[in-house]
């Protein structure tokens, strides 16, 4: 057996050189590449993590913005509802006020109409009462009523002041109106009786007016002396209407 020391030394050097060569041309490049790939992967992971964090932050921001929008929407809805409620209340108040005004106006119109109708009815009732009284009075004997009414006319003339009587006599021709045309004897008697109270008067004229019902009217150009049931009925109706008007005004 032969053991060569030179070969041992050379092979030792050879293996050590090979270690260096493979380290230089094989292991280090491959290790560097693996490290570079790991670094790239870590960079990608870091980028992905950063992107994920950014996405999460953006999602959080969007959620916050969404919540803010929702809160603002609720706030605006509440404000709008409050405005609507205020408008509704105002409109209701206005409508209520208008309705009450209309109601008051309608009530006033209704009261006025009712009052008008009442007055009209009362007037009609008065006319009707007058008509009824007229019909009833027509049943009385004409001679008795005529004599009484003529006496009353003379009393009324007699009650007038003297200057007014003179003025009445001086106005001109007077007309004595009766419900029916008087006979000749009545005309003379009526003219004589008037001439005693109105000595300056011209002979009177005579006229018939059935509306008088009963009584007389002495009509001058400017003056009328009335003493008929028509005048009395008209006076009663007018006074009655006047009293109703006063009562309605007080109410």
């Amino acid at each position: 057996m032969h053991f060569d020391g030179w070969t041992l030394a050379l092979q030792t050097i050879n293996v050590l050189v090979l270690v260096w060569l493979l380290k230089r041309f094989l292991f280090r490049p491959v290790a560097d590449m693996i490290a570079a790939r790991q670094a790239a992967a870590e960079t990608l992971l870091a980028d992905a993590e950063a992107a994920r964090a950014e996405a999460a932050a953006r999602a959080t921001a969007l959620k916050a913005q969404n919540d803010a929008f929702a809160a603002e929407a609720v706030e605006r809805r509440a404000a709008m509802q409050a405005g609507v409620e205020a408008d509704r209340a105002r409109l209701l108040a206005q409508a209520k006020e208008a309705a009450e005004a209309l109601s008051r106006q309608a009530q006033a119109a209704s009261a006025a109409e009712r009052e008008r109708i009442e007055r009209e009815l009362e007037a009609r009732a008065g006319v009707l009462a007058g008509s009824m009284a007229e019909k009833l009075l027509r049943r009385l004997p004409e001679r008795e009523t005529t004599a009484a009414m003529f006496a009353a006319l003379l009393d009324r003339l007699r009650a007038m002041p003297e200057p007014e009587r003179r003025k009445l006599a001086a106005e001109g021709t007077l007309t004595l109106v009766t419900p029916a045309a008087p006979g000749e004897a009545d005309r003379v008697r009526y003219a004589d009786a008037l001439r005693q109270l109105l000595p300056d008067m011209t002979p009177p004229e005579f006229a018939a007016d059935p509306a008088l019902v009963a009584g007389f009217e002495l009509r001058g150009p400017h003056t009328i002396v009335r003493n008929s049931w028509r005048a009395d009925l008209d006076g009663l109706i007018a006074r009655l209407n006047e009293e109703e008007g006063s009562r309605a005004a007080l109410a």
Partner: protein
Amino acid sequence: MKIASPLETHVLFTVGPVPIAQPVVTTWGIMAVLTLVSWAVTRRLALHPGKAQAALELTVDMIAGQIRETMEVPPARYLPLIGTFLIFILAANWSSLVPGVEPPTAALETDAALALIVFGATIYYGVRVLGPAGYLRSFAQPSFLLAPLNLIELFTRSLSLTVRLFGNVMSGVFMIGVVLSLAGLLVPIPLMALELLTGAVQAYIFATLAMVFIGGAISEASHTHEGANP
């Protein structure tokens, strides 16, 4: 074919007083091939690897994983040495497939050189990691009485490395040479296939034992599990 004496070293030429034996020249050739292939493969590494780069990275990563699991340390510092052992011994053992080439690992000097490097690396890394005193104290573990045995083991295991690799490779080459000289051209092929397997296994064993020895040296309790002896 080595049919005369497997223990003889054939000197091809001399450089001055230095004889250049056949295993040395073969080793140079293997070194050139490995360096060129490594340079060719690694000169165009990319982040998106092709098939060849992926296979290369897988191989390197597998060796690094073996170092990490066996030595329980970060593999970067030990990867060139252990990886070179594995690749060189595998390439040297399989170089017997090239006609006319005798594997360098069939020469006792090559195996002794490899064991010598493991021996030196064990001491170097042990001292570097534990410090000189710490490394010396590791021989007295678990008892001071075992220090002589641990010291003897430091040398004998290197010797065992040499003899194991030399015996396996040399015997395979010698057997193939004998059978080829007796039977014919195609008869040794099954033996050559078996020799491929043996070469791969021996490369793996040598690298693993180197990891175990160095790992044991950098661990204070290393001497308790350094008896691996397949």
